[in-house]
Structures are given as C-alpha cells and as structure tokens.
C-alpha cells in the first residue's frame, strides 16, 4: 500500500516535471512565433510602402499613374 502510494507520488512528480519542461518549450515557441510575427508585419509594411509599389509598377510593369481626367465619377441616386 505504502509502496503504491510512493510510486504514485513519484509518478506525479515526474509528470509535473515533464509538463513544466513542455511549458517552457511552448513558452519559447510562443516567443519565437511572436518575434516572427513582428518581423513579418515589418516586412509587410515595407513591402506595401506606396513609394516602393509605385517604383516597381513603373519599372517592372510599365504602369503609369492614372490621369485625373481618366477617372470617372458616377453620382448615384439615393
């Protein structure tokens, strides 16, 4: 009986230890993912910078900014 109880206590302690180690690893993973997320957000912001897109569109696609007179506005009735 006492042996079984002692074995149970040991088993419990080992389980808690393993969970703590796993928690530590998950904490590190979370920190890593947050860091990746921030880096990706930063890269996205750089990529969507208007000046960069305009320069690329001109250079690689030959796109020109729209002329003001080529924009059509439609007045919709309510």
């Amino acid at each position: 009986m006492i042996g079984a109880l002692l074995a149970g206590v040991v088993f419990m302690n080992v389980a808690v230890l393993r969970l703590n180690i796993r928690l530590d690893r998950l904490g590190r993973d979370r920190a890593g993912l947050r860091a990746d997320n921030a880096q990706l957000a930063s890269q996205l912001s750089s990529a969507q910078a208007a000046a960069r897109i305009q320069a690329l569109a001109r250079k690689e696609l030959g796109v020109q900014p729209a002329l003001a007179q080529e924009t059509t506005y439609i007045r919709l009735k309510p």
């Binding site: 208007a50 000046a51 002329l67």
Partner: protein, 568 residues
C-alpha cells in the same frame, strides 16, 4: 580464548560502526541544521533564477493600419571574459558570424577583470543563433527588442526614434513614451542541470506597451515627401515643409520636412534633419498671414468684400515705405481684389482702419503666438509681439506677415478653421491609443460661418487668372488659397535680398473642404514667389490627395478638358 577474540572484534566493529554513524549523523546535523540556510541559498542560486521579461514596445500604425514603427526581436551577444578560454578564437568566430570587427572585441575578451562585456547589442537573431550553435565557452545570448521603421524615410521626423534601450528619444516615440513603453515582468524559475525550466516559483507578467494609431496616411505622406523632394531639387532650395490637414477633424493626414532621413539609421544623421520643422520651427509667413487682417476687417464690419479703395503704389508707415510686390500705378481695388492680388498697400490700409489693438486681438484669436497643443513634443509657440511692444512701423509689417513668426501647423490650422465654417480644431497626430478613448479635440469658433464663407470665396479669387496663385489650380476642383513670399531676416536686423520663404496654403475642394495643404519652401533659387515655387507643389499634392481620397470633382467637364498632367 577464541570466543574472547571474536567478542573483541565484534566490539571493535561496533565501535567503528558507532563512530561512523556518529560522524555521519554529525555531518548530517552540520549540513541540515547548522549550514542549512546558507546551503539552501547556494542551491537556490544555482537552480533558481529571477529573470526580467521585457515588455514589448507598442506599435505605431498609420490611419490605414500600416505599421510605421514596430518592435522586432534581436539577440544581444555578450561575453564573460573570465569564462572565455580562447579569446582569439572567440573574437574571430564572433566577428565573422556577426559581421563585426574582431580587433575591437579581442582586447575586451582578454580583460579578465570584467565579467560582462557586450559583443554586439541587438544583433541579427539568425546570425546570433548561428554563433550560439558553435558552443563557444564564455559567450552568452539574450533576446532584446529592436525598434524598426519598416517604411524607412516615411514620416521619419514625425515618428522620431527609440534608442538602443528601446526608449523614445525623439518625435512621437518620445511624446508617446508613456503609452508605447510597457512594464517589464519578473519570473523566478527553477532550472534543471540542462538549463530547462522545471518549475515557476513566482511570476509577474509583463504588460506590453499600447499600440498607437495615427491620423497620418502613409500613402499620402509618401506622396507629399516625394513632391517636396522634387520641388527642392527643381528650385535648389535649402529645405521644405508640407502639412496636410483634414479640416473636418483637425487630424494631420501628412506632415513632412525635406530633406528627410531614414529613422533606422538615426545615429548617423545630423540633428538638423531630424527636426519636425512643421511644428518646431518658425518662419515669417508673408502674405499667407494677410487672411487674418481680412477676417478681422470683415468681422468687425470695417469693410465688405465689395468695398473699394483707391490705392497708391506705396504706403508710408512711420519711417517705412511699403509697396506691392509688383509695381503698379494708383488703382481702385475692391477688398476681394486686394486679397486676390495680395496687395500689401491694401492690406496695411485695412490694418490701419482696424487699429493695432483690434488687429492684435485677432492675431491671438487665430492662435498665433501660442502653441496649438498638437500632440508632438517641442512645439514652438511662434513669435507674436504683444501690442504694447509694437513700434510705429509694426502696423505696416505684421498685417502682411512680417515681424511675426509662425509654425507651419499654426498657419495650416488657421486656414483649416476657415474651411471648417469658422471653427478652429486642435491639430492632432494621434487618432487613438489602443484600449483608450480618443482624446477630446479642442475647438473654438474664430469667425462666423458667414464670414468664413465670404473668406473662402475671396480666397478662390487668389487661385484664378487674376490672382497670384493661378498655378495652384486643380482641374475639376474649386481651390481656395493664398500665396506667400517672405524675405528672411538677416543677422544684421534687416531682411535678406536673396533668401526668401515661398509658401502656399490651400483648401480643396473649396465647395466641401476635405484637405488643407500648406507648402513652404525655404530659400528657393531662380524664383522666389510662393505662386511659382510652392503653388505647383500644392497642386501636385492636392491632385493626388483628391483622387486618392475619392473626392468627386466639382466640375467633371473641366477635368476632361484640362488634359491634366499625369499624377505621379
């Protein structure tokens, strides 16, 4: 005989065992009772560790949700010279992995008196990880946040920058420190011999900084900066400032100073480039200031827009003779024509009718001589002399924007008040802080809606064939605005013959204002007039802004026939 010998041996064994037990017991008592507190502390030091968990700095977003300043993870590499076995090898390997000069680290690694030296702060995390894998004794690593400005030059003077310790040093990074900086947390953990956390004894979680959302629009901001750069290049100017305000809210849509800089590289930039000149620097506004005199004269019923005056080519005030920018004979002009043609003589005539006390009160009412309260650190109040310190000739200077210094944001917000039916709104850069209510925007009425409408009509006359601001016209849209050309004060107390500030402040569309745009160009060469130097820059910004903000034209037909030049 044999049994006595056996007994003696047993007794000896017992004595040895008893002694051994006594020694063991004594040692156990020594360790468990006498030395227990100290050993407990030593064990705790070896296995327990209290670590500070840094709080991430809040992100600064523009009004479209694009991050303009964001925290990225970096790795700080440090060394304990006492633990370094081969300093030369560590220096060479760290140098090659982190792309730093090994000769600079090597002497520090040799200094065994120190137990902590930085190898590189906020190194690239991938490079640092590669170095960590080499397992060099004496090197250690910890994560730190590095502030990054992903759009580089965009709004750099407005954003400012955070330093190596991740605290704001300039601009909004400094002004919003209390929101952006979080509170670091603390954690006491127990580690196993492999360095893995096996228990958390106590934990105070970190509180990350709050995200801040600005009123700036990064696309419009980039366009304004681009137009300023082109204008500076075209006129070989020393500098330029532009402000775009939403007159309905007081929100700053764009605020730029040129030349600019990349906020990621702030350490290598002269401080003169870092100033947000639209808020911190003053200039003599010249004719853009005349609108104050006209607003005063109209509101105080001194004149109406149709009141006519016969104006001599010049006017004498105390010891000064002032004439219009373009020589002309004696002419009869209405008040509206006087503003459209930016007549100095006409404006001073109105000011003399008003008197210095009333004019001084109106200057204060428009907010000149005091800060606007914009949420940016280091705002200048400008310089507006109190009326009791005016000299005899001041009434000939101030009404035409000389002898008074203003900031670009003061001037833009004064025009925004006219665009907002006479109600002045406090200009602001911060829309809201995440988790907090938007700040209340201060407002006050400056002129009645009727007077604001009259002034808007008169300012449309400036942007006409007869006015000084024809170059500011935007095809398809009604534009109201005012040109300004001001000689800069020279160090000898007079005014320079060569150095001018050319400016234009405009409101588009004048029919239902969506943007107030101020452009000020410092020391242009070749031309000096606001109508020729700053007005085209205003036009380019306005045309882009109107199309970008989907503002329908007042007169689509004129848009089609104008054959407007491409946007870009």
């Amino acid at each position: 005989m044999a049994s006595r010998l056996a007994n003696r041996r047993i007794r000896l064994l017992l004595a040895v065992l008893a002694l051994a037990f006594a020694i063991t017991f004594g040692r156990a008592f020594w360790l468990q009772v006498v030395r227990a507190p100290r050993l407990e502390r030593l064990a705790a030091q070896q296995h327990h560790e209290t670590i500070t968990t840094p709080a991430g700095r809040g992100t600064i977003y523009d009004r479209m949700g694009a991050p303009l300043a964001i925290g990225e993870e970096a790795t700080t590499v440090y060394a304990d010279p006492k633990q370094v076995r081969n300093a030369q090898r560590v220096a060479v390997e760290a140098g090659s992995a982190l792309d730093i000069d090994p000769d600079k680290i090597y002497p520090q690694l040799l200094n065994k008196k120190q137990s902590f030296v930085y190898v590189q702060r906020k190194a690239d995390p991938q490079r640092a990880a590669a170095l960590e894998h080499r397992g060099l004794a004496g090197l250690d690593f910890y994560p730190e946040e590095r502030r990054s400005y992903p759009q580089h030059t965009v709004a750099s003077q407005v954003l400012g920058y955070a330093g190596i310790d991740n605290t704001g040093i300039a601009g909004l990074e400094l002004g919003l420190e209390r929101y952006l900086a979080g509170k670091p947390g603390k954690e006491t953990i127990v580690r196993d011999p492999f360095g893995r956390t096996i228990d958390v004894v106590s934990s105070t979680p970190e509180q990350p900084g709050r995200d801040v959302f600005l009123t700036l629009d990064h696309t419009l901001q980039a366009k304004v900066e681009s137009v300023l750069r082109e204008t500076l290049t075209k006129w070989h100017a020393a500098g330029g400032t532009a402000v775009v305000l939403d007159p309905r809210t007081g929100g700053v849509l764009a605020m730029a100073s040129a030349p600019g800089f990349d906020a990621n590289d702030f350490a290598h930039v002269p401080s003169s480039l870092e100033r947000n000149r639209a808020v911190t620097d003053t200039y003599e506004p010249g004719s853009t200031f005349k609108v104050v005199t006209y607003a005063a004269a109209l509101t105080d019923h001194v004149v109406t827009p149709n009141t006519t005056f016969t104006l001599a080519p010049s006017i004498h005030v105390a010891d000064r003779t002032i004439s219009d920018a373009e020589p002309r004979p004696t002419e009869t002009m209405s008040v509206a024509e006087m503003l459209a043609r930016s007549s100095n003589v006409g404006t001073i005539t109105l000011a003399e009718l008003l008197g210095k006390k009333r004019l001084g009160a109106w200057i204060s009412r428009f907010g000149f001589g005091k800060t606007t309260g914009i949420d940016f650190p280091g705002e200048s109040p400008g310089i507006a002399l109190p009326v009791d310190k005016w000299s005899g000739s001041t009434i000939g200077n101030v009404p035409i924007g000389q002898g008074i210094a203003v900031t670009a944001v003061q001037m833009a917000s004064a025009y925004a008040a006219l665009a907002n039916r006479g109600v002045w709104l406090q200009p602001h850069l911060v829309d809201h802080v995440r988790g907090r209510r938007p700040a209340r925007v201060e407002h006050r009425r400056i002129v009645s809606p009727a007077i604001a409408r009259v002034l808007m009509d008169m300012l449309q006359g400036v942007v006409s064939a007869e006015g000084t601001g024809g170059e500011a016209a935007v095809p398809g849209y009604l534009v109201a605005g005012k040109t300004g050309t001001a000689a800069k004060p020279d160090p000898h107390g007079g005014y320079s013959d060569t150095n001018y500030v050319a400016s234009f402040v405009g409101i588009v569309p004048a029919s239902a204002p969506r943007a107030v745009i101020l452009v000020s160009i410092d020391e242009p060469r070749g031309q000096i007039f606001g109508g020729l130097v700053a007005a085209p820059a205003f036009r380019d910004i306005a045309r882009f802004a109107l199309q970008y903000m989907d503002v329908p034209p007042d007169d689509p037909a004129s848009l089609k026939s104008a054959g407007a030049a491409p946007l870009g």
